[in-house]
Structures are given as structure tokens and as C-alpha cells.
């Protein structure tokens, strides 16, 4: 193996000479401690290396050894419930070895080499297999059964296959390739993180990724296999939105990347997810979650790698035919890491010091999401949905990272500082946000929730838009200048905002709302508006309609348990109808 020597050290960037045999993007070991780095530029025999660990103490003359392989992740059983750093070192194991602080030069395998997994074959000897075919399964956690697939590039006839308990390095299957050579298959595969995993065909997303968050599911839904961005200034609740999605999204697997964010946020996930129950299976959410944590105090170069590590792991589960949701919080920190390395490489900067290739890198990342037909003969479908948080400086989304992101993503949940100040959470602004999946998903909502759901949605959006216009008038001339109908419209919108869109993530019931509950809640509010507005037309007293006691009950519908929703709904609808009838019949008498 060729060995080079350091000539220059500048922060996380190390330049070494004598590296002519190494390839671009090879992983190298730097210095006596064997710090992990990656070659990002070659000039003659000089390689520029980004080092994933703190470089203090390195100097010219220290050796640099190339490992000859690009930065890769290990894929196999054992990733779920785990927390990794940006280059897939398990942090809980690191805790045992190096104590509460992360020390340097620690070499840890991502998957345990000693743990045995029960492998159940699904093919027999003599069967012909190709890349992507499932040859067996492992029940990794109570809720997730992972599939062992034939690695990319192998095709042939199964010669031997065994069931039993194996470690990830044991050979579980031998395939005889067409040229007569044998290929050993283990439960673990390796894959370079900067290359998307192959699939057969990409499909158009058709189903929503339900999140239990009313403003998202109803107004701005994301599709399974879709991409969304959540930009917002600090304090607007980006992380809470991301956490809520990680908790309640109806995905089979969740990959959560904490990229350059707060350490305590990852700790929060680590401590909370094992306690939270998945609404479908009743098992802890942690059992379907993989965490990647590269917090802001950890080395900046590994932050650049962390989102690739995360998405490669997510793709691996997608290839099994699962629906995977990936959350990256925050892509802005990733872009900053890119900028820092670019600056140290003395590249000509683009906008605001970011490298000119920022937009293309971001696009490459997000394009790895999608709904696909996986490799393998059974033609199973997998979906990878990606949701990236963006932290624009000062909350101003005219900056390069936000703009580059918006050009790619189909769903935009714009967080609004003013809503956050009023403690309206999730602070997703209903006027600026959008989802380009609406038309495509309407059919699903009509078929699976209620046929009038898409209609209710449009009506809600229309009302909110009209409210914004009416508010402008109110600002100028006061609310009394409006007609009763318009005043009533404002009241209805207030209900939509405060009772429907506002959702308390920390309330045990309100934190998640099924689509059925969402539909019934919205129906109640809009029905109140429709009937109330009719009543006013028929001469009912405006003040009485506005102060109907049922409004408060509808307002508290969000705290109704899922099992009570249907019953309560019928009761309230009936109560509403009666109340309105009464007001209409009183209408004339009150008119004095």
C-alpha cells in the first residue's frame, strides 16, 4: 500500500505528497493515530485530504496511508436502534471505549462482529438469483424484518444456503456465477456513500406519507418518495417539526440525521424514542429508527459526509421494499461544511462564499429520494422520502442554500417567526407554503379518507386566503366596517387557525391526528361556517351565532381520543344542526 507524507495542515484540510497511486475519494489514514480522512483533490502526487477528526497535533512528515477504498458504509442487521456519527461509527460503543467525550483515532466497526442473527433462507439451492433478489430474512427488531439481498454485481445459481444463527461476516449463501466462480454472500454489504444504490426503475409518487400533523396532511401533504424542505429562522420550530415527523410519519423505517445541530436534540431523540409507541404496532419507535449524529461541536468534515451516510442507509432499506423517511436537520450546516472545505482548498467562491457546485450537490442528494421498483425478480416497490430542514441566516430565504433547495423540492413548509412568537405551532405559514403533490394525492384522499376531503381542503385554503385579504381591510378601517358575512368568515378562519392548524406536539392526544380525525374536525368547523352563514342570511342574530357554545366544544375536538372520534362527531353534528335551527327560529323575534 502506498504511503505518503503530510506537507501541509490547515484545520481539517491536510495536503500530502507521494500519493500518486491513490484514487480520488479514497479513504486514507492520517498520522500515527490513524485519523480517518478522504481524498478530495489530486494535483500530481499531492492529495488534498479532508480529515473527519480533529487535526491538532498533526504536522509535516507524518505518514498518510490510503486504504484503497472509497468512503463506505456497512449495511446489514444491527443498524436499527443505533446511533452513529457522520462516518458510521457507533456512538454508544464509543462511549464505552473513550468515555463521554469523543477522542481521536478510534476505529470501530459499524455492525457488531460478534452478535449472532437468526437467518431464515427464502430461496433454495439450485435456484437462480440476480442482484437484489431476497435470499433470506432476519428479524432484526420486533417490528422490522430485514431482507438479505444478493449484492449488486452478483448473478448465478445458489449453490449452498444455510439457516441458523450467524454473525454479519459469516457466509450464509454461496452463489455460483455464470463463469463458474463462486461468490460468498454474507448478511453484510458495503456500499460507497457518494454513489446512489441502483434500482430498476423510478416511479411517480402516488401515496401520501401521512404524518398525523393536520397542517401537513391536510393542506401541504408530502408523497411517499417525495422531497420536502422546512426552512425557518431559529426558534420557529424546525426541529420540533422534524421530530414530529420522525415520530409519527407512517414509514416503515426512519433515518434521522442530526447534521451540525445541537447535542441535546440528539439526546432528546435517544431518550424519548424508546419510550414512544408507534401508533400502528404499539412498539417503541426506536425499533424502526436509525440515528446519525454529527453535532455542531463534532469535526466539520464528518458533517459533510453525514448526510451521504444517512441516505445510503436509507436506500438500503428502500431496496428491501420498505417505505423509508429520511430527515436531515439541517442541510444548511452541511452546506457550511462544504463552504469551509472549499475555502480551505482556495476555490473561487460562488454566492456568499459557498462553492459554485453547492446547488448541484444538493440536487444530487435530494434526487436520491423517490419511489422505485427495486432490483430483484419480484419487482417490489420501495420509497424513500427526504425531508430537509434549512436554517437560513436571519430567516431570509433569499440566501443560496434555501434557493438551491427550493429549486429541487416539491413541498415547502415555510416556518414563520411571527406565528412562533404567538406560540402557534407548528408555525407553518399557510399562505407561503405549498405542496406540488396535491393533485396527485387528491385521489388517494378521496378514496381512502372521504370523497369530499379534497373539496374541504380547497375550501379551507380559499377561506384562509380570503381571511388575509379581509384582515388588510380590518387593519385600515376596523372590523365593524365589514358585513356580518365577512365578519363571520373571519370568525370561521379563526377556528381553522386556532382549533385546526394549531397542534400541540407536547399534548398526549393532540400530538397525532389520524386522517379520519382530521377529516371530521375540518368537517365540523366548515359545517359550522356553512350553516352559521346560512342562518345569518335567514336572519339569525350574528352575535348569537358567533357565541354558540358548540364552538368551544368543536375547538376542543382535538383533545378527543381517536376511539371516540366517530361517536363524538355524530353527536356534535346533530347538536350543531339543532342549535342553528333554534337560532334561525329565534331570528325574527330578536330583530327589534
Amino acid at each position: 500500500m502506498n504511503e505518503g507524507r503530510i506537507v501541509k495542515v490547515s484545520g481539517p484540510l491536510v495536503v500530502a505528497e507521494g500519493m500518486q497511486d491513490a484514487d480520488m475519494f479514497d479513504v486514507v489514514r492520517v498520522g500515527d493515530q490513524g485519523l480517518i480522512g478522504e481524498i478530495i483533490e489530486m494535483r500530481g502526487d499531492r492529495a488534498s485530504i479532508q480529515v473527519y477528526e480533529e487535526t491538532a497535533g498533526l504536522g509535516p512528515g507524518a505518514k498518510v496511508v490510503s486504504t484503497g477504498v472509497p468512503l463506505s458504509v456497512e449495511l446489514g442487521p444491527g443498524m436499527l436502534e443505533n446511533i452513529y456519527d457522520g462516518i458510521q461509527r457507533p456512538l454508544t460503543e464509543m462511549l464505552e471505549i473513550s468515555g463521554p467525550n469523543i477522542k481521536r483515532g478510534i476505529d470501530l466497526k459499524a455492525l457488531s462482529r460478534t452478535k449472532r442473527w437468526k437467518f431464515v433462507p427464502t430461496v433454495e439451492a439450485g435456484q437462480r438469483v440476480q442482484a437484489g433478489d431476497v435470499i433470506g430474512t432476519v428479524k432484526e427488531t420486533v417490528i422490522v424484518e430485514i431482507k438479505i439481498m444478493v449484492p449488486y454485481g452478483i448473478e448465478g445459481v445458489v449453490k449452498e444456503i444455510e439457516s441458523g444463527d450467524f454473525t454479519v461476516e459469516d457466509v450464509v449463501c454461496v452463489v455460483e456465477k455464470d463463469d463458474g466462480t463462486l461468490a460468498d454472500i454474507t448478511m453484510m454489504q458495503k456500499w460507497p456513500v457518494r454513489r446512489g444504490r441502483p434500482y430498476k426503475e423510478k416511479l411517480v409518487p402516488e401515496m401520501p406519507l401521512l404524518t398525523g400533523q393536520r397542517v401537513i396532511d391536510t393542506l401541504f401533504p408530502i408523497a411517499k418518495g417525495g422531497v420536502a424542505a422546512v426552512p425557518g429562522p431559529f426558534g420557529s420550530g424546525k426541529t420540533v417539526v422534524q421530530h414530529q415527523l420522525a415520530k409519527w410519519a407512517d414509514a416503515d423505517i426512519v433515518v434521522y440525521i442530526g447534521c451540525g445541530e445541537r447535542g441535546n436534540e440528539m439526546t432528546d431523540v435517544l431518550m424519548e424514542f424508546p419510550e414512544l409507541k408507534d401508533p400502528k404496532s404499539g412498539e417503541p419507535l426506536m425499533k424502526r429508527t436509525v440515528l446519525i449524529a454529527n453535532t455542531s461541536d463534532m469535526p466539520v468534515a464528518a458533517r459533510e459526509a453525514s448526510i451521504y451516510t444517512g441516505i445510503t442507509i436509507a436506500e438500503f432499506y428502500r431496496d428491501m421494499g420498505y417505505s423509508v423517511a429520511l430527515m436531515a436537520d439541517s442541510t444548511s450546516r452541511w452546506a457550511e461544511a462544504l463552504r469551509e472545505m472549499s475555502g480551505r482548498l482556495e476555490e473561487m467562491p460562488g454566492e456568499e462564499g459557498y462553492p459554485a457546485y453547492l446547488a448541484s450537490r444538493l440536487a444530487q442528494f435530494y434526487e436520491r429520494a423517490g419511489r422505485v421498483v427495486c432490483l430483484g425478480f419480484d419487482g417490489r416497490e420501495g420509497a424513500l422520502s427526504a425531508i430537509g430542514a434549512v436554517s437560513p441566516p436571519g430567516g431570509d430565504i433569499s440566501e443560496p442554500v434555501s434557493q438551491a433547495t427550493l429549486r429541487i423540492v416539491k413541498v415547502f413548509w415555510g416556518l414563520d417567526a411571527n406565528l412562533a412568537y404567538a406560540r402557534h405551532f407548528p408555525a407553518i405559514n399557510w399562505l407561503t407554503s405549498y405542496s406540488l403533490y396535491i393533485d396527485r394525492l387528491s385521489k388517494w384522499f378521496a378514496d381512502n379518507v372521504n370523497k369530499e376531503f379534497p373539496e374541504l381542503r380547497s375550501e379551507t385554503m380559499k377561506l384562509l386566503q380570503e381571511e388575509a385579504e379581509l384582515q388588510e381591510i380590518v387593519q385600515l378601517v376596523g372590523v365593524d366596517a365589514l358585513s356580518f358575512q365577512d365578519q363571520f368568515k373571519l370568525e370561521a378562519c379563526k377556528s381553522i387557525r386556532e382549533d385546526y392548524l394549531h397542534q400541540n406536539a407536547f399534548h398526549e392526544i393532540d400530538t397525532y391526528a389520524s386522517t379520519n380525525k382530521q377529516y371530521k374536525m375540518l368537517k365540523l368547523i366548515l359545517e359550522y361556517y356553512r350553516q352559521g352563514s346560512e342562518a345569518i342570511d335567514k336572519g339569525a342574530d350574528y352575535n348569537k351565532v358567533v357565541s354558540m357554545p358548540i364552538r368551544e366544544t368543536i375547538g376542543r375536538f382535538k383533545y378527543v381520543e381517536e376511539s371516540e372520534v366517530d361517536k363524538q362527531f355524530e353527536v356534535l353534528m346533530e347538536e350543531l344542526r339543532k342549535g342553528i335551527q333554534e337560532l334561525i327560529s329565534q331570528g325574527g323575534e330578536q330583530d327589534d
Partner: protein
């Protein structure tokens, strides 16, 4: 055997180039010996072949290129730490300046610290009672949190910070408590305010002070917060103390960082601050927290003055992205005589939800907090509307909200720097104010709490 170099070829601003060096490593500490025999510290920013670019920590005055000598010490910058540091005053580089004896170190610790493994952190969840309603009730501080104060020139952030340092306590706890205070480029008068306040209340014995004043070399400031946090880490994680760290003023720190970055001719980010300002600030702030299996904790309150009161300026902006919330002082409230002038709406404590509620503060805390925020926010809107359209344009309920906003500012927020309110007092005061509104408006509070707490308040109010 340590080599000495007489090969300084350039000194420009805070940077110095030494040629012909061997075996020098990145981030290594160096010592410059002046012809007069005086020594100064520096550290290696970049090594390129046999050239070492070093950053001075002190003034460059008096460095003679031909006569000065440089030694590289083979280690990073370390601080000798000991429990005896409590009650002492040090300069910005950790040397005693109170005339007392040198510290005999128990251990030497690298001032840069090491990143904390997120799996080793323990989530901050213990309520700290500061005695300030706007913080305890609405933006609750918990142990191990980093909660900055965003202030502006001429606003009383020092008074508020001193009040927190003086009053902060954990309910039912009689545990070891210490304060580490770092003055970063502030004036003598401001530093003296803290020192006198600590002396007046006797807190000085539990305090370690690091002072880099406005007339000390700006580049020294880059080390001051790191040195203070190193002392805090020692006290918290080696000596099991609960340490409150106050860093003032981060704006001066960031400016010193910009100075070095500009001297290195780096590509600047926003407003000339280096692109790595976020990462750099994060390596400071993230040192706060709690660790599993350690009893101590570091709670960090950095203070920064927002240039032109602009929250989107890179320093407050990046700070806000790292810290767990912020306390924002408002010039408008200050002019109105609200003391302390905390603007509760844009202020936020992200960790409050885990630190409040039954068993920690009181069961009704979360709901009343949300309700107070919502009501105050609406009240302020109503007041704005009133200013444009006149009082007559408001509905009756809007008028009530406007009155509520005034009462909230005058009674709840404005409590003075000497009042120390218990959490019960704060919560009861909240109920008293909410009673101004009709019950139907209190949508964010669960019925059971309305039934339990509201009637008692009504009675009290009626008697008054």
C-alpha cells in the same frame, strides 16, 4: 529537547510567519521570547512544509523579527485547574491578577475541550428557579441549558445576568453551586459591576473570574471563553459542581475572530465574519450540558449585544441556531420602565417542556404558559390596532386583551432586580392576570385546571 527559532519572517496584525521549522504540528502552542526576556504565547494556525503560520494571543508590540525567539512546546494550550480557583480573579489567558499566589494545578486540561458524545449526554430536565417571572414562568431555564441574553447597547443585561447569578437555585437542592464568569472585551465599569455585585452578596467565594477588558489585546479574547469553559468543565465534571457560566460579551469575541480571519485573507461570510463562525461558536456553546453518570452540570448564559438591535445580524443569528433558546431584551420596554425589559414573545427556552409540570414546577404550568403567550400576543396586536384606529374600533373582547397586555407587562414582567419570586408566586400571578379574560377565551388550558385554579383566583381578585 525544544528547538528555538530565530526565523520570524513576518508579523502582520495578529499573525506571524516562522520559517525553517521542523516537527511543528497544527494547533501547537508556541512561546515567543522577546529581546527583553518577556515571553508571549502563540499557536500554530497552519503548517506548510517548513513554514508555520502562528496566531499571537497577545499584542505584537515589541516583537523584533531578528532578535525574538520562538519555541514550540509540543502541546496545545492548557489550563492548570484546581478547586482553589474559586474566589480568584484571572486575566483572559488564565493568569492570576488578584495579587494572590499562583494556582497549584490539580490537572492540566486542553482548553479546546473535546466534543461530547451525544450518547453520553443526559437531557437537561431540572428546573432552575431564577426568581424572574418572565424566565421561570414563560422561558424556563433548566440545568445544563445554554440560554443567551440578546441585548443591545445601553440595555441592562448586566443587571439581569447578575440577578440570575444571585437568585438561581434548584428547588429542594442544597448542592454545590459555582459561577464562572468571563469578561470578554467589556469595559472596566461593566466588569466592576459584576465583581461588586458578587462581593456584595458573598457570591464571590463561589466564583471564578476571568477578565479580558476592552483595553486588553483583542486577540487574547479568542482564548478567554475557552479558558473559562475549561475551568467550568473541571468544576462540573471532576468536582461534581453545578456551574453557571456567564460569558459577556460574545459580540467582542466574534469581532476578534473576524480580525484574525481578515488577517489570514480568508473568504468572508456574511458581514465579513468568517464562514466557520457557526462552527466556532458551537464549539464554545456545546460545552454546556450534563453527562450521564456525572452529578455536575454546566449551564451557560452568554450575553451578546446585537448591533443595531438587529436579531438577524450574524452573531445573534448563529448563536440562536446553536443555543437552546434566547432571552431578548427590548428597548421599547426599557423606555417604558419595565424592569427587567424582557420581551417575552420572541424569547424562548427550548428545553422548558421537560423542566416544567407536575413534580417539577406545577401541573398547570405548561397550559398557563401557552395561554399567557397567546393572550399577550393578541393583546399586543389589539394595542397596535388601537393605535391606528382608536379605541372605539375595538370589540369589547379586544379591549380586554389590550388591558391584559398592559397589566401583564406592568405586573408580570416588571418586577425589579431585587424581587425574587418563587415559582408558585409566578404561576399564581399568571392566573390572576388570566382571570381578566372570560373563561371561554382560555382555550389552551385544560378544563380540569380551569376548574381547580380559576375559582381560587377569582375569589382573591374579588376581595381585592
Amino acid at each position: 529537547m525544544i528547538k528555538e527559532y530565530r526565523t520570524i519572517s513576518e508579523v502582520a496584525g495578529p499573525l506571524m510567519l516562522v520559517q525553517g521549522v521542523e516537527g511543528v504540528t497544527y494547533d501547537e502552542l508556541g512561546e515567543i521570547e522577546l529581546p527583553s526576556g518577556e515571553t508571549r504565547q502563540c499557536k500554530v494556525l497552519e503548517v506548510n512544509g517548513t513554514n508555520a503560520l502562528v496566531q499571537l494571543f497577545e499584542s505584537a508590540a515589541g516583537i523584533n523579527l531578528a532578535e525574538s525567539k520562538v519555541r514550540f512546546l509540543g502541546r496545545g494550550i492548557e489550563l492548570g485547574v484546581s478547586e482553589d480557583m474559586l474566589g480568584r480573579v484571572f486575566d483572559g489567558l488564565g493568569r492570576p491578577i488578584d495579587g494572590g499566589p499562583e494556582i497549584i494545578p490539580d490537572a492540566r486540561m486542553d482548553v479546546n475541550g473535546l466534543p461530547i458524545n451525544p450518547a453520553a449526554r443526559d437531557y437537561p430536565a431540572e428546573f432552575i428557579q431564577t426568581g424572574v417571572s418572565a424566565i421561570d414562568g414563560l422561558n424556563t431555564l433548566v440545568r445544563g441549558q445554554k440560554l443567551p441574553i440578546f441585548s443591545g447597547s445601553g440595555l441592562p443585561h448586566a443587571e439581569l445576568a447578575a440577578q440570575i447569578a444571585r437568585q438561581a437555585k434548584v428547588l429542594g437542592g442544597g448542592e454545590n453551586f459555582a459561577v464562572v464568569f468571563a469578561a470578554i472585551g467589556i469595559t472596566f465599569e461593566e466588569a466592576d459591576f459584576f465583581v461588586s455585585d458578587f462581593k456584595r452578596t458573598g457570591a464571590i467565594d463561589r466564583t471564578v473570574l476571568f477578565t479580558n477588558l476592552a483595553n486588553d489585546p483583542a486577540i487574547e479574547r479568542i482564548s478567554t471563553p475557552r479558558i473559562a469553559l475549561t475551568a467550568a468543565e473541571y468544576l462540573a465534571f471532576e468536582k461534581d459542581m453545578h456551574v453557571l457560566v456567564i460569558l459577556t460579551d460574545i459580540t467582542n469575541y466574534a469581532e476578534a475572530l473576524r480580525e484574525v480571519s481578515a488577517a489570514r485573507k480568508e473568504v468572508p461570510g456574511r458581514r465579513g465574519y468568517p464562514g466557520y463562525l457557526y462552527t466556532d461558536l458551537a464549539t464554545l456553546y456545546e460545552r454546556a450540558g450534563r453527562k450521564k453518570n456525572h452529578r455536575g452540570s454546566i449551564t451557560l448564559i452568554p450575553i451578546l449585544t446585537m448591533p443595531e438591535d438587529d436579531k438577524t445580524h450574524p452573531i445573534p443569528d448563529l448563536t440562536g441556531y446553536i443555543t437552546e433558546g434566547q432571552i431578548i431584551l427590548s428597548r421599547e420596554l426599557h423606555r417604558k420602565g419595565v424592569v427587567p425589559p424582557i420581551d417575552v414573545l420572541p424569547s424562548l427556552s427550548r428545553l422548558k417542556d421537560k423542566g416544567i409540570g407536575k413534580g417539577k414546577t406545577r401541573e398547570d404550568h405548561a397550559d398557563t404558559m401557552n395561554q399567557l403567550f397567546a393572550a399577550y400576543s393578541r393583546g399586543k396586536q389589539c394595542k397596535e390596532l388601537m393605535a391606528i384606529l382608536g379605541e372605539a374600533a375595538l370589540t369589547d373582547i379586544d379591549k380586554l386583551y389590550a388591558q391584559f397586555a398592559d397589566a401583564f407587562e406592568n405586573q408580570y414582567v416588571s418586577q425589579g432586580y431585587e424581587t425574587n419570586r418563587s415559582i408558585e408566586d409566578t404561576l399564581d400571578l399568571g392566573w390572576k392576570l388570566l382571570d381578566m379574560l372570560p373563561r371561554g377565551e382560555l382555550k389552551r388550558i385544560r378544563d380540569e385546571y380551569l376548574d381547580k385554579y380559576l375559582p381560587c383566583v377569582c375569589e382573591v381578585n374579588r376581595k381585592e
